[in-house]
Amino acid sequence: MRNIIAFVAGLFFGGGLVVSGMTNTAKVQGWLDVFGAWDPTLAFVMGGAMIPMAIAWAYTKGRTPVVGGSFPAKPDPKLGRNLVVGSVLFGAGWATAGLCPGPAIASLGFGGSSLWIFVAAMLGGMLIAPIFKAQLEKMDG
């Protein structure tokens, strides 16, 4: 059951990423290019995505997930170095190629070898990230 739900969610996510234009790196870079030909499409995508999500979060109150267990608790609002440093590094990479993890997987099947190079490097980055993360958490005490 968990796997079927995850697969269906993935189908919606992947389809939505293509329809929204977020697998087009020029549109993502256009969103970040405030000093050039700024493209606001990403705001519509984010806004659209938050509508079903906000409804879903409201629905979770007092309920449990379909497969059982419990819904994720709201995280501790503590803002550590890892959140800021990680987001800055991510933003820099996001702008450099116009790709974040979701669209990279969604366009892997039709985007050619560049996508495979990007994803390979991303997986490498994810593999070494725990080393940096541990250092940053140590600094936070």
Partner: protein, 141 residues
């Protein structure tokens, strides 16, 4: 309204529906970097099956969509240095920050999570600065 914005909104609604299904069904946050990263660094191996089926959906749906959807250009660079640098930054950054555009952005902001909002401000800010630097100051991309 520009047709791209309408497609952005529709695609966004699909993305959010995927997130809502994943949340209400499995009680999990649909964050692409967390789902992938947990497989890479072994931290999510206990839920490996649902991570893999989710990613299979993300990968497969676009292959079906592009059969009837003609807006499939990725405009991805073929510069290997740029792709590897971007991939490493996205991989390291999202794992240090514990989330990307889907987890912190879509799922976090829609529940008014402070961490999600702060992360999104920083990755969009860093993305904007990187874009300005690479495109308008250095003229590299």
């Amino acid at each position: 309204m520009h047709i791209d914005y309408i497609y952005g909104l529709i695609g966004g609604l699909l993305i959010g529906t995927g997130g809502a299904i994943y949340l209400i069904g499995n009680g999990r946050i649909m964050g692409a970097s967390g789902i992938i990263g947990g497989l890479v660094d072994k931290s999510g191996w206990s839920t490996a099956a649902e991570r893999i089926t989710f990613l299979a959906g993300v990968f497969l749906m676009p292959l079906m969509v592009i059969q009837f959807w003609d807006r499939t250009e990725t405009n991805i660079t073929d510069n290997v240095v740029q792709l590897v640098a971007a991939g490493l930054l996205v991989g390291v950054g999202t794992r240090i920050a514990n989330g990307c555009t889907s987890g912190h952005g879509v799922c976090g902001i829609s529940r008014l999570s402070l961490r999600g909002i702060v992360a999104t401000v920083f990755y969009i800010g860093a993305g904007g600065l990187t874009m300005a630097t690479l495109r308008h100051v250095l003229g590299l991309i």
